[in-house]
Symmetry: C2
Subunit: 405 residues, 2 copies
């Protein structure tokens, strides 16, 4: 039986059954008075849980703690704050992260080992525990609290990022929901990105881990805003099984539908993040086809969306195709300049390495749109990949030159 | 006998004996009417010659031609143009590059295989041969033509980049000169960078090649403006031996002095390029000490000068030390956050992973200077490296969003 995957109207991380969330303004970043900045997500039944984390050698205290707690593949709640990443904060940072988790565990009545922690914000500054302790007690949890949680995670994000899909298979079905934040420091290898995914499907822990890794590789690891990677990157997936049925495993009939639905949620959130890059005015989607291998396609796609010159050209609606080809060239992927094709949307602008006589008006119209689609065919093999990024604007620099002061 | 290395006042690429240069305005880029854009450098006697080139898979026609011609390690002249990189121009680009070389060879009376070619400018547009052919004939060569050549190479550079040093060893001696261009697209692996180096020292070809590779690794491969790499990067070194004496070889007494003087010229030009990055207002120098290995020190130094977040913070004189540590963390170099020290100039701002109580006024003064010196000690081993970059300003984006249109 084929599965039907549908978007859930106003879907969020608490759309799947049994998930609750709530948020408060703890005043963590004094300059953002009144902003929601501390939130809790929890499931009324224990969950199978998996995570993917930053590859940086500098890992924030919440990442260290959460990685430890996920070793057993189980969790019941997540506490998240914005305004302070609690990274590069030494042993004290670990103590603080554990205390926040303990306060939440006490509040909802589960073991503290079941509470995962994530933080985002400035690096190298301790959590203001005096303001956080009383704030935890103020959090009110509800079934539609996912929307508030999405807002509480935001830093320089201009919009909350949330979604959910329902998966129907015959009479049964389940839901997958998610929230994410990320705006600057977004780069291949998943940079200052927090994402929490939930499902009421019953999923076996080993399969859950593999499915999450794969979905992250195709989504969050294929976006770039500014080439920087953060110590705090965290993607978590909690499955509470409340939709019933046998647990989905690697071999089961429902495995593919689950992977596909999860990937769809992750790609949706990843594109929202790329489009909301600091100072961004356009989303860039780059599809590489015909690479010698999948790995080379990924390299090439990420090089194009990461190129400051491509990003600046897109910002200025400048048809500088040479910069796209140069980015592919420096990516390390095999290429032959006499074979390369390039399309802007449906218009071919380069054929076998030569510029095609241009439909200037059409090209100009596409370049001035909100979404720029670049498709490269290297005509060398079967490798394909897609990556997303945003343009580089003067606004990016303005935001990032005054973040701290 | 110890060598004495001294800067030559108003030194340039034609400071060494026997080198001549000249430039004209050929009108290659129509928007830069009257700008010098085509130049020739030649030596009155044949030279040992070596080159280092872009690592991009997309190589401009001049790079392909020049690499071929350098296989024998000999050359007599270089022709360079700005305004058009003659890259991604297919077979036609190779024909054009060879024709320009042939015209120059005819003009100065040497074999065309002895003429090397370099081009910089827009990618994917053919050389305007109709304007170049008559212009070649107009070039007048002189002993102080290096200054004009330095100007003819410029694209978005705001200043010509040239220097020379004299090396005295007892009664004998020689001179090394150099010119360079580069502004955007400057990144580790030597991006849109052209540099021509000359010397009247007699140097054995094999040693010349190795010395150039090493000097480039310590200079041009340690600068970053925007993380992009160009198809045109070329560093050439010509040695005509007119200062006399036995050829310097890997084993000879004078080998170290030559390597040191060459490195000094390259580092000087590399720093000029970093400081003149598109839209740059400050030079950033990053020294990494105490890395587990030299390779890791290089990685870490390059990650810091390449970080858009560090570059933006420096632009805004923002004391956001966490971004420096985060850049080291994501570089792949081993680090222990409890061991890291960080200095701004002579002021220690992080000791063993903790922020030092800050001398705010002093720090503010240093952050507002023209040159920002960051020194990181990882306290793990003996690996050291230095890299240079520049801040990221709104101006960078303005320049690069309107380059083509």
């Amino acid at each position: 039986m084929k599965a039907v995957i549908k978007a859930v109207p106003k879907g969020t991380v608490t759309s799947p059954q049994g998930f609750f969330a709530g948020a408060v303004s703890a005043g963590i970043n004094k300059r953002a008075a009144g902003k929601l900045d501390l939130a809790v997500l929890f499931s009324e039944t224990p969950c199978a849980a998996a995570g993917v984390f930053t590859t940086s050698k500098l890992k924030g205290a919440p990442v260290v703690l959460t990685q430890q707690r996920l070793e057993h593949g189980r969790a019941g709640a997540v506490v998240v704050n914005s305004g302070c990443s609690n990274s590069f904060t030494g042993e004290h940072g670990l103590v603080d992260a554990a205390e926040v988790a303990a306060l939440v565990a006490e509040g909802i009545g589960i073991a503290q080992e079941g509470v995962l922690v994530a933080s985002t914000g400035v690096i190298g500054v301790p959590l203001p525990m005096k303001r956080i302790r009383p704030a935890v007690e103020q959090i009110i949890m509800s079934r539609d609290g996912g929307h508030d949680l999405a807002r509480a995670m935001m830093t320089t994000d201009t919009l909350p990022k949330e979604t959910a899909v329902s998966v129907k298979i015959g009479d049964s079905g389940y839901t997958i929901g998610g929230v994410a934040k990320g705006s600057g420091m977004i780069h291949p290898d998943m940079a200052t990105l927090l994402c929490f995914l939930t499902t009421d499907a019953a999923v076996e822990e080993g399969f859950l881990k593999g499915a999450l890794r794969k979905a992250v590789d195709l989504s969050f690891n294929m976006i770039s805003v500014d080439g920087d990677t953060s110590p705090s990157d965290t993607v978590l997936l909690l499955a509470n099984g409340m939709a019933g049925g046998e647990p989905i495993t690697a071999g089961s009939e429902q495995a593919d539908a689950f992977k596909q639905a999860l990937e769809q949620v992750c790609v949706y959130l990843a594109k929202l993040i790329a489009a909301d890059g600091e100072g961004a005015t356009r989303l860039i989607e780059v599809v590489i086809n015909g690479a010698a291998s999948k790995l080379e396609a990924r390299k090439a796609a990420r090089a194009v969306v990461s190129s400051a010159l491509v990003k600046s050209a897109v910002h200025g609606a400048d048809p500088n195709w040479g910069r796209v080809v140069a980015a592919v060239g420096r990516s390390g992927a095999d290429m032959d300049e006499y074979k390369i094709d390039l399309y802007l949307g449906d218009i071919q602008v380069i054929r076998a390495g030569r510029q095609v006589k241009s439909q200037k008006r059409e090209i100009n119209k596409l370049l001035n749109g909100k979404e720029i689609n670049l498709k490269v065919n290297l005509n060398l093999g079967e490798g394909s990949a897609t990556a997303w990024g945003c343009d580089l604007s003067q606004e990016y620099v303005a935001i990032n030159s005054e973040y701290m002061t």
